[in-house]
């Protein structure tokens, strides 16, 4: 199992090697990976049916409770099969779709990396490793969306998607940590036992909020939905795979997975119902206002994800069952629609649904696949979409007081989605073939077999639901709901309310499709509302945050060294003065201070004289030398108080400082304009205040009882353990050797920094001169 998950990463790492020696074989080689994994996961169908779930344990970081445990149950098996199955079709499709592309090898590398991460997300039992895989899916999706990296729009979309999903992932991480703190484990299977404790704890509200942000960002729920239409900049196989069938369902997976653990409370249900309903209606309306096929599909995907959140929110057994079926049904028809869009785009070069028509005459098999997918999305009997829609209406119409409102919303969404589905799957193929697309022809079977195959599955599962009821849907239902009710899927439920609603949906949708033609004008009219769209608000927020940071930095980092020093000193003075006078009693014990010797008087006089020189002279050289004298006088104090090592180092440093100043300052032009009187007074006041505060602080320190245990240990053991008599040096090279080692590295970095600042001419504004 571990190998099955990480195989994709290994393949991704091997890309450079393969592309060097086996460049032409890459599509075959890499398509074999999802196919073999698909077969591998199929084997578990029987075992899951009888045992419920299987755990695979691999230790990773046992000290922190993080391991690579994998839990295979109905839900994760369904996702694993979708990831590898649709993955295989997409891998094969890509072989022709991007044939001859310069970076085809890279593309397969990213795809296998994504596939492995996605498998990791749905199989991980340990929440920490799930989080890591979760973020890996965001990262690989970033690479895939930005695959056309010469296009600025595509780079921007990639970054938007990464920021939104990455942000959500981090929020979810805090939720995971909080959950671990409450429930006592990172393991989902173990947490299941403490479900009641978690639900009754005070942090429950926080946990679900944090998880919701993670799930909603990943699954493009309102108001985080806008990254998904942007992500359509990616090549169509990516949109198919990541942004309709698998990755965007990771949030749904998360919610479904945690339903038995965190679900079935008022806040859980009402939040999910509200967000899900808003998303599904909002996105469904948007989807019929677009003309670009991929945009239509993107919004209808968001709407479908909204339906799933909505169903999980309703939380009754029927609703969870409907969610389980709809995950599969949607993956099958939406992936097919995306693949078909890719074919149309590939052959005609257009995705404008208001122009496309009549392609049936040139690409019959594609048209058949399109019809099946569109009908399944509409929920026509004998297709899987019909069953999922029936169960969904059953769930909403049985939901107590709110049944009518929820049912109306569901029906409305379904009607609009029917139109969107017909536009994508039927509209381009019927009618008259315009002249401009006359040259279009049927592409390689590699392109049209995958969508057709998905259509056949929709049809097969829809006509004979018993094919999947017991083997797949039952385990999925059990792992989402945690109950053992036997699932029964039927085509004919009798002539009841649900069937009426279905017929109503089909009729209303059909009429709407007949009356409402896609047009660009309509889309243009919606553009004026962009100002209040969540995307605009969030982007403007980010922009104003950026300009605020610019103002803030410009104020404090204004490039004048004197201002930096003043800011630092003033801040420190205020802080210390506040602490000293506000909260500490200043008490200085003059008796503790030793007698002043005549050496010290001489040194202090020396210092005062040189300070006087430094501030009164007009010559830079004099000022520097005078400051150097202050430094050397300081060293004399170290010597008097027997710290020869310190004195020595200080001597060398002071020498170097003086030399450095000399190097720079002698080259400067003579500057006659010295500070005005006011500035001088200000600086003098500030420095005197700072100086006296430091003096008070130093005297105060004597009042604190000092602990000399450490220095005593160092002194006693310097020779015994480290064979040195110079304690200072032994501290540097032995006791604190690690510090010293890192400090040398810091020194090297500093030198490299100075070197690159001075030597490499990186400032573009200077190049023009």
């Amino acid at each position: 199992m571990l190998i099955a998950v990480i195989l994709g990463f290994i393949f991704a790492l091997l890309v450079p090697l393969f592309s060097k020696f086996l460049k032409n074989a890459i599509p075959f080689l890499y398509s074999a990976l999802p196919l073999s994994l698909f077969i591998y996961f199929l084997q578990f169908l029987g075992e899951i049916k009888f045992r419920g779930h299987i755990l695979f344990r691999f230790e990773w970081v046992p000290s922190m409770g993080i391991d690579l445990s994998f839990r295979l149950d109905g839900l994760s098996l369904l996702f694993a099969l979708m990831i590898t199955g649709i993955g295989f079709l997409v891998f094969a499709y890509t072989a022709y779709y991007l044939k001859g592309h310069q970076y085809l090898d890279r593309f397969y590398g990213y795809l296998s990396m994504f596939m492995a991460s996605m498998l990791g997300v749905v199989l991980s039992d340990n929440l920490m490793s799930m989080f890591i895989f979760w973020e890996l899916t965001s990262i690989s999706s970033y690479f895939l969306i930005g695959f056309n990296n010469t296009d600025p729009a595509s780079r921007k979309s990639a970054l938007t998607a990464l920021s939104i999903t990455g942000f959500g992932g981090l929020v979810m991480l805090s939720g995971i940590i909080l959950l671990q703190a409450t429930g006592g484990s990172y393991s989902f299977t173990e947490l299941l036992n403490s479900s009641e404790i978690i639900k009754n704890s005070t942090s429950y509200a926080w946990i679900i909020t944090l998880f919701f942000v993670g799930a909603f960002t990943k699954s493009a729920q309102f108001p985080f939905h806008f990254w998904l239409p942007g992500a359509m900049k990616a090549p169509t196989p990516v949109s198919t795979y990541l942004h309709s069938a698998t990755m965007v369902k990771a949030g749904i997976y998360l919610l479904a997975r945690f339903t038995p653990l965190l679900g079935d409370t008022f806040w859980w249900n009402s939040t999910l119902i509200t967000i899900g309903a808003v998303t599904m209606v909002y996105a469904a309306i948007h989807s019929v206002l677009r003309v670009d096929l991929k945009s239509i599909l993107a919004y209808s995907t968001i709407s479908a994800l909204g339906i799933l959140v909505f169903l999980i929110g309703i939380g009754t057994e029927k609703a969870l069952l409907a969610a389980g079926i709809f995950i599969l049904a949607h993956a099958l028809y939406k992936a097919a629609l995306f693949l078909i869009t890719g074919i149309i785009d590939h052959e005609t070069g257009s995705r404008d649904v208001s122009k496309l028509s009549g392609l049936k005459q040139v690409m019959m098999p594609v048209a058949v696949a399109g019809f099946i997918a569109a009908l399944s999305s509409a929920g026509v009997p004998l297709l899987l979409g019909f069953i999922s829609k029936e169960v969904m209406y059953e769930a909403t119409s049985q939901f107590g007081d709110w049944a009518i409102l929820l049912t109306v919303l569901a029906v409305l969404t379904k009607i609009l989605l029917l139109v969107a589905g017909f536009w994508a799957g039927i509209k381009p193929f019927v009618g008259k073939l315009p002249l401009e697309f006359g040259e279009a022809k049927l592409p390689s079977p590699l392109l049209w077999i995958p969508p057709l195959l998905l259509g056949v599955l929709s049809l097969g599962f829809g006509t004979f639901p018993s094919l999947i009821t017991e083997s797949l849907i039952q385990p999925v239902f059990s792992s989402i709901s945690g109950s053992d009710t036997i699932v029964q899927l039927k085509l004919w439920h009798g002539f009841n309310l649900v069937l009426m609603l279905s017929i109503l949906t089909l009729l209303a949708g059909g009429i709407l499709y007949w009356l409402w033609k896609p047009s660009n004008d309509l889309f243009q009219k919606t553009v004026q509302f962009e100002v209040v769209s969540p995307q605009n608000i969030i982007e403007n927020g980010a922009k104003s945050f950026g300009s605020f940071a610019g103002l803030w930095t410009g104020f404090f980092q204004n490039g004048y060294l004197r201002n930096y020093v003043i800011t630092i000193l003033a801040f420190l003075t205020l802080l210390m003065a506040y602490r000293l006078f506000g909260e500490v009693d200043i008490y200085i014990d003059w008796d503790q201070i030793s007698n002043v010797s005549h050496y010290e008087i001489i040194v202090v006089v020396l210092m005062i004289i040189s300070i006087f020189f430094a501030i009164s002279t007009n010559s830079r050289t004099t000022a520097i030398v005078a400051l150097g004298v202050v430094g050397f006088a300081n060293c004399l104090f170290f010597l008097i108080y027997s710290a020869p090592d310190l004195a020595m180092t200080q001597f060398s440093i002071d020498t170097l400082t003086v030399l450095l100043f000399m190097l720079v300052l002698v080259k400067l032009p003579k500057n006659k304009q010295y500070s005005s009187k006011g500035i001088k007074v200000r600086d003098a006041l500030l420095s005197m205040m700072f100086g006296s505060l430091i003096a008070i602080l130093t005297l105060e320190v004597f009042e604190e009882p000092s602990s000399s245990e450490v220095s005593k240990y160092f002194a006693d053991n310097a020779y015994l353990l480290a064979k040195g008599r110079n304690v200072v040096n032994v501290i540097l090279v032995d006791y604190r050797g690690f510090d010293t080692m890192i400090e040398t590295v810091v020194l090297v970095i500093a030198a490299a920094g100075v070197f690159s600042l001075m030597k490499l001419d990186l400032n573009p504004s200077k190049k023009d001169l």
Binding site: D645, S652, L663, G724, R725, N729, V733, V748, K759
Partner: protein, 136 residues
Amino acid sequence: MKSLIFKTASTYLLPLLLLFSIFILLRGHYLPGGGFVGGLIAAIAFLIHSFAFGLKETQSIIKINPGYLMPIGLVFAIGAAIAPFFIGAPILKGLWFEEPFKFIGMVGSALFFDIGVYLVVIGATLTIMFSITDTV
């Protein structure tokens, strides 16, 4: 600087200061001194020389780019730090030869560590100083 006294003095100061810096480096474990101070002194020695004779002259004496001393020094320091790891002791444990060497005294991993620090300090200081001198 065109002072004859300074030039003459710095000609003699350079070898003396370098020797002194090595002396300081070696005695560090027992008496005041050590790699850091030693390195600073050596850097000052070259710097004074460059003041007297100009950057070019000093660079031709050093022969190699002083920047190269930094990685060499890091190899010494990190090597001394992880050497105990290969004989199964914890990282940075002090290892010592049994018998003292002539002139130098006891030799152990701490000394190599200090030599590494010494070289890094010379390299970093001279790189900083020389790039400033060269550019200003």
